[in-house]
């Protein structure tokens, strides 16, 4: 196995050896490379001050994605291009269009958030042009600014990211893609350091082998949960197997009956397919973390992490998804709701991993909604997340699946509530009864995100909202008009 991390630092070939593989890119930049333009504001992926851009070849094309350097391990740089705020100025010192626009719009005050905004804007600039306010908001939701109130930054983004990319990076894209492809060939990466081992298999077969040899290794998909164990809890990860380079593990495919989301497909990878079949699901996924988080984080990781407040499990349970678990090349399938055994306990056996999530395509007439309720609209963890899937027959409930996050120690299917609705007319009266069942079967806790009383009230009301939206008596609005789509 190759022992050196090879990547492009802007246009320079760069290699790293002998450092802890779980050193973050932010720490590497600031302490090893002494490139201090990239800032630390939180070290947990929540402020965006550390935003850098990764260049990757996807479907033969160079794609730029903004990510949080504070929760990205240096081993994950392998085979990629790393761009930071220092790289954007032209050789003659001229500012990049996004930088220039920020200056012109007075978009930086204290300036500490600015490098992160610059890099998020750079990624947006390369996203194809035509950015409207919605696109800008989505691109910047993961960047906090405490000084400006955002208006000038949004204006800068609208001014700079309107047209197709026309900077030197666009001109160079083919050459960079070729260099990255050259880096990608050869043996897989396997780093050994006193602090731990970091293995990067390239195929499912290699992954099967490694998960058997190292059954206790931490499987690292996007690392948007796992990296925080290092940066926040100062835990050592003695063995890590990265999933983000395994060929075929990140594919999103569909046949006549189901959508199959590979375990290492990122949220952004999966978004288009989700939006096609379940616009409501996609709408919620756009509120998972931020663009930076969704560029790395995976639905597979969200499921395997088994947090009671993970946002996709309720929807997956409601949609009747099946999880494909794999060990040593053998597969087994398990219903999503049976996967979560207890607080952060899953049905995964030692040496087993999640290979894919299979979601049955919507039956004709399927009504589906998932609602995420949090203190802040963007980049916040749910207080309650409720998912509802329903089919009606002659105005009566023919089938219904309801699941909640934030209401129990696991993502929880509300079986009694479903039973109370089954066969009933889909009316507010039936819902009123079902609300009582819901109250009886879910016992949430109080914490800094919400009180138990609020969670219970919201859970009830989400059921009501679902009814109001799917069987409207009038055209009165049932949700906020400006909640970002």
């Amino acid at each position: 196995m190759r022992e050196t991390i090879r990547f492009l630092l802007s246009e320079t070939d760069c290699s790293i050896a002998g450092l802890p593989p779980t050193m973050t890119v932010l720490e590497w930049l600031r302490t090893e490379a002494r490139a201090c333009g990239t800032k630390e504001g939180c070290a947990e992926g929540d402020c965006g001050a550390c935003t850098v851009v990764l260049g990757e070849v996807i479907d033969g094309r160079l794609r730029y994605r903004a990510v949080n350097a504070c929760i990205l391990f240096i081993a994950s740089l392998d085979g990629r291009q790393l761009l930071t705020v220092e790289h954007l100025r032209g050789p003659d010192g001229t500012l990049h269009p996004v930088q220039q626009a920020l200056v012109e719009q007075h978009g930086s005050q204290c300036g500490f958030c600015t490098p992160g905004f610059v890099m998020s804007l750079f990624a947006l600039y390369h996203a194809g042009g035509g950015a409207d306010r919605q696109a800008v908001q989505e691109a910047l939701a993961g960047n906090l600014c405490r000084c400006t109130g955002y208006r000038p930054i949004v204006d800068a983004a609208l001014a700079a990211c309107a047209g197709p990319p026309a900077d030197r990076f666009a001109a160079n894209a083919a050459a960079i893609a070729a260099r990255l492809q050259a880096l990608a060939t050869g043996e897989p990466l396997g780093l050994t350091h006193a602090s731990g081992k970091f293995l990067v298999p390239r195929s499912l077969e290699q992954l099967d082998g490694l998960t058997q040899t190292w059954p206790d290794a931490v499987l690292l998909a996007g690392g948007t949960d796992a990296a925080l164990w290092v940066t926040k809890q100062y835990r050592a990860l003695p063995e890590v197997i990265a999933l983000d380079r395994v060929e075929g593990l990140d594919t999103v495919t569909e046949d006549d009956s189901l959508l199959r989301v590979g375990a290492s497909a990122t949220y952004e990878d999966a978004l288009a397919a989700l939006a096609w079949h379940w616009p409501e699901f996609a709408r919620m996924v756009r509120r998972v973390g931020s663009r930076q988080i969704r560029n790395r984080g995976t639905i597979g990781g969200n499921v395997a992490n088994a947090s009671p407040i993970g946002d996709t499990p309720p929807a997956l349970i409601a949609l009747g998804a099946t999880l494909v678990l794999r060990a040593a090349g053998e597969r087994r399938r398990i219903a999503a709701e049976d996967f979560f055994l207890g607080y952060r306990k899953t049905a995964l056996a030692r040496g087993e991993y999640l290979e894919a999530i299979e979601v049955p395509l919507p039956a004709p007439g399927q009504l589906f909604a998932v609602y995420k309720v949090s203190k802040r609209l963007e980049q916040d963890i749910s207080a309650v997340c409720g998912a509802f899937a329903l089919t009606l027959d002659g105005g009566k409930v023919a089938s219904v699946r309801i699941a909640f996050g934030g209401m129990a120690a696991v993502p929880k299917r509300a079986v009694q509530t479903e039973l109370s609705l089954l066969g009933q007319l889909w009316t507010q009266d039936s819902v009123a009864l079902a609300m009582e069942a819901l109250d009886a079967e879910l016992a949430p806790i109080s914490d800094m995100r919400a009180s138990a009383a609020y969670r219970k009230l919201v859970a009830r009301n989400l059921l009501l909202r679902f009814q109001l939206e799917t069987a409207p008596l009038s055209d009165a609005a049932v949700r906020l008009s400006e909640v970002a789509a």
């Binding site: 600031r30 002494r34 201090c36 333009g37 800032k39 504001g41 939180c42 070290a43 947990e44 001050a49 705020v85 220092e86 930088q99 220039q100 920020l102 200056v103 012109e104 007075h106 930086s108 005050q109 204290c110 300036g111 958030c113 610059v118 800008v136 908001q137 939701a141 960047n143 405490r146 000084c147 109130g149 955002y150 208006r151 000038p152 926040k232 203190k375 802040r376 609209l377 963007e378 916040d380 963890i381 207080a383 914490d447 800094m448 009180s451 009383a453 009230l457 919201v458 989400l462 009501l464 909202r465 109001l468 009165a476 609005a477 049932v478 949700r479 906020l480 008009s481 400006e482 909640v483």
Partner: protein, 778 residues
């Protein structure tokens, strides 16, 4: 290089006298460096050789006796150079800015969870942290006081209670035609400056120490570091180039980290850097004071207040810090823009076993204003009138009804004009009707609208702090170097003060350079706080520039045989009749004539005085005014809400820099709105803060800002007082425009039923939903 926007029509209106550099929208001086990642913050500076990194071990308990502290295992750890406890402080183990009570290291007793107990310096931050965790630390827990309620019940105060009064409130209340009482709880706020607290101390000869500190108050850091080290102030230099945000959080509270870094540097003889990570920063440092406000108001049928009594209880945390002045300012702003005829304001400065709360943009003023705005709203709902009507009914008058509760006459009242203009431009009345119609047809989604005014007193209420110095050099090539006591935290102070110097000399802005603030160049400064930065330092710089300008004029006047007073400095030249000379030439000539091109400048705010015992006087030089209208939409099933539209009209006087002032107004609004909506601090039953990172503490993100955000400077704005070029301070006042967002939420909740609306701040979706549920239920 600075980008100067073309002269806008606005600036012509604002500056009839035709200022050429000041008054224009120059970009913040560091903008180009910031967007390129080239602006250096302390953690970005090249690290000196042998640099050590420090880590502070925090207390686990809110209130406990330390029964055992054995740091030997920490000291023996890999890479450790020094461990310091309370016993190892050679001087005073306290960084209390005004009163003692803020130990550098806890000495036998901890009074909040997160308090500094001891510190370790090691070769890396990871080694320092690991070592610190190896020390043996045992506590005997004591019962903590955690809330304002408990503190009030036990009369547990950090400072004596105060009373401000005018007229006989009790009698007026007894005689009032109508009377209401109420109570509002207002949460605190984390500063969440993006750059956490940081200091780097570099030891020199003779026990000298140079401290690079991210502080709003270099002089205080210098002084407290010297006191901790038991050396004279002249042995310590404090330097601050820029902060990555501060908002008051680095006024008094930067000293602790500077002191610990300096103590470790002195002990080891090596440079030491101390940077808090986000979680430690949020646990260790004070926040905006949370308040409980009780009010009792009498009024007539038109809603005009005839008598009012306030009880303000501020949670100061475990020590006084700046709480005296902060609670005073809450009292000073309990009137906001309203004349209170018979008024009594009682202020309790509660002690709790939580972090010591501190300065935060507005400095207590916002809390005071939230109280009176709640009163206005309650009166209006009681009388079933539009809240704006009641507000207007109570505005200060121009010739009468113009005395504040602290007996200062309001001489510059422009609130009726500003509110009239804003009500018109925001189409308040029309939208009020539209919203009523919308709500009538919308059972689940409700809208709310509110217009609130702001009147904010400008000056440090501690009179002696209202002074500033500057040091200005003109070099013989005509370039200018300027220093002043103010610090740059993103507000654009350096740019504004440079604009003043350039204006005075009639030269381009890029000929003036402002270098890092340092106690070496301008001594004995006040903090950059109380919105006073450009008022004070602008005037001091102007004074210095004028001294040198006169010297130059005198030398050249002699050459030309004209009167010095007739020489005009303009467009990089000196001119008089047929004579003209480049400014740089003139500088050379002045030097050749052996006349100094260097001067200090000094300014002290006139007119102000205050009796802190009687709570009477003129604490403020002038007032800043403004008003805002917010419209919200509330989901009554979940309590979630969005801002639909915000209009702000703000009086920055004759603005020194419209673009930068706009930035302060927009940023201030959003920060104030965050304070009153999603920013919730949450402590567990043991008194430990559980919202100590952005994952749990939610400041506004881009999507929380309304798409329809219309902010304007008031074109007729002009400071009646002789402030720098008739501008007005703009740092803090706009924060309080955020109150209109809160009141709009109250308005939306009110539309869900009958009776009083009890909504406390922050109005999280949870509080909003519960307030709606209470209304619908009863």
């Amino acid at each position: 290089m600075n980008v100067i926007a073309p002269i806008t029509p606005d600036s012509e209106i604002l500056h009839p006298r035709g200022l050429r550099v000041a008054g224009h929208s120059a970009a913040q001086d560091s903008a180009r460096k910031q967007v390129a990642g080239e602006a250096l913050y302390i953690d970005d500076m090249p690290e000196p050789r042998d640099l050590l990194h420090a880590y502070i071990r925090l207390s686990d308990h809110a209130h406990a006796r330390i029964v055992k502290l054995d740091v030997s295992a920490a000291a023996a750890s890999l890479g450790v150079a020094a461990v310091l406890t309370a016993r190892d402080v050679p001087g005073v183990n306290d960084v209390g800015p005004a009163f003692p009570g803020d130990p550098i290291f806890a000495d036998g007793l901890v009074e909040y969870a997160g308090q500094s107990v001891f510190a370790v310096a090691a070769d890396s931050i990871a080694l320092a942290r690991q070592a610190a965790m190896r020390a043996v630390l045992e506590y005997e827990p004591l019962p903590p006081v955690l809330t304002i309620r408990e503190a009030l019940a036990q009369q547990f105060f950090v400072l004596p209670s105060q009373k401000m009064q005018r007229g006989d409130a009790a009698a007026a209340l007894a005689a009032a035609p109508q009377r209401l009482q109420g109570r509002i709880v207002v949460g605190g706020q984390e500063h969440f400056y993006l750059e956490g607290q940081i200091a780097m101390a570099v030891p020199g000869e003779d026990h000298d120490i140079k401290v690079y500190s991210s502080t709003q108050h270099p002089t205080e850091v210098q002084h407290l570091v010297a006191r901790a080290l038991a050396v004279p102030d002249h042995a310590v230099i404090c330097e601050t180039r820029r902060m990555g945000g501060a908002f008051g959080g680095k006024e008094s509270q930067a000293s602790l980290y500077a002191a610990i870094a300096a103590l470790l540097a002195a002990k080891t003889g090596r440079p030491v850097k101390l940077r808090l990570d986000r979680d430690d920063d949020m646990k260790l440092t004070g926040k905006r004071h949370d308040f409980e406000i009780e009010w009792d108001v009498g009024f007539d049928a038109t809603g005009r207040i005839t008598g009012i009594a306030f009880m303000l209880a501020g949670n100061c945390g475990m020590s006084p810090d700046l709480s005296g002045a902060i609670n005073d300012r809450a009292m000073f702003h309990s009137d906001n823009a309203y004349y209170l005829d018979a008024v009594s304001i009682v202020s309790h400065r509660c002690k709790t076993h939580t972090v010591s709360n501190t300065a935060f943009r507005g400095f207590g003023g916002p809390q005071g204003m939230v109280g009176i705005e709640a009163v206005m709203d309650a009166i209006a709902r009681h009388l079933k009138r539009d809240p704006l009507q009641v507000r207007r009914r109570n505005f200060y008058g121009k010739r009468d009804r113009n005395i504040t509760p602290y007996h200062m006459t309001v001489e510059d009242n422009v609130i009726p004009e500003i509110v009239a203009e804003l009500a018109r431009t925001s189409e308040y009345a029309k939208r009020r009707q539209e919203i009523a119609a919308f709500n009538a047809g919308s059972p689940w989604v409700k809208r709310g609208l509110a217009l609130t005014p702001v009147k904010f007193g400008i000056s440090f209420t501690l009179t002696r702090m209202n002074q500033a110095g500057a040091l200005l050099h003109v070099y013989t090539d005509g370039s200018v170097m300027l220093n002043h006591g103010g610090t740059e935290m993103g507000q654009g102070l350096f740019t504004k003060v440079a604009q003043v110097a350039a204006e005075e000399f009639g030269i381009d802005l890029d000929r003036v350079k402002i270098t890092a603030t340092t106690t070496e160049k301008v001594p004995n400064t006040s903090p950059t706080a109380a919105s006073s930065g450009s008022d004070l330092n602008g005037k001091a710089a102007q004074a210095a520039a004028r001294i040198i300008r006169e010297r130059i004029a005198k030398v050249i006047a002699k050459q030309w045989g004209v009167a010095a007073g007739d020489i005009v400095f303009r467009d990089g030249e000196l001119r008089c009749g047929p004579h003209a000379m480049r400014f740089s030439e003139a500088a050379k000539h002045t030097h050749a004539a052996r006349v100094s091109l260097s001067s200090t400048g000094y300014y002290a705010t006139p007119k102000i005085h205050y009796d802190t015992k009687l709570h009477q006087g003129r604490p403020f030089y002038y007032f800043a005014y403004g008003a805002s209208v917010s419209e919200v939409e509330v989901d009554t099933l979940t309590g979630e809400y969005r801002l639909r539209r915000v209009d702000i009209l703000h009086d920055a006087g004759a603005s020194l820099n419209p673009a930068l002032d706009l930035g302060q107004i927009e940023g201030g609004y959003v920060q104030g709105m965050g304070w009153l909506t999603t920013e919730e601090l949450w402590w567990d039953a043991q008194g430990r803060l559980r919202t100590h990172a952005p994952s749990t503490y939610k400041i506004p993100a881009v999507g929380d800002v309304p798409q329809d955000f219309r902010v304007a400077l008031w074109k007729r704005g002009r400071n009646r007082e002789n402030a720098i070029y008739r501008s007005k301070a703009v740092g803090e006042p706009p924060l309080m425009h955020g109150i209109s967002a809160f009141q709009a939420l109250v308005d939306a909740v009110a539309s869900c039923g009958e009776g009083v609306v009890q909504l406390d701040a922050p109005a999280t979706p949870e509080r909003v939903l519960m307030a709606i549920a209470a209304r619908r239920g009863g």
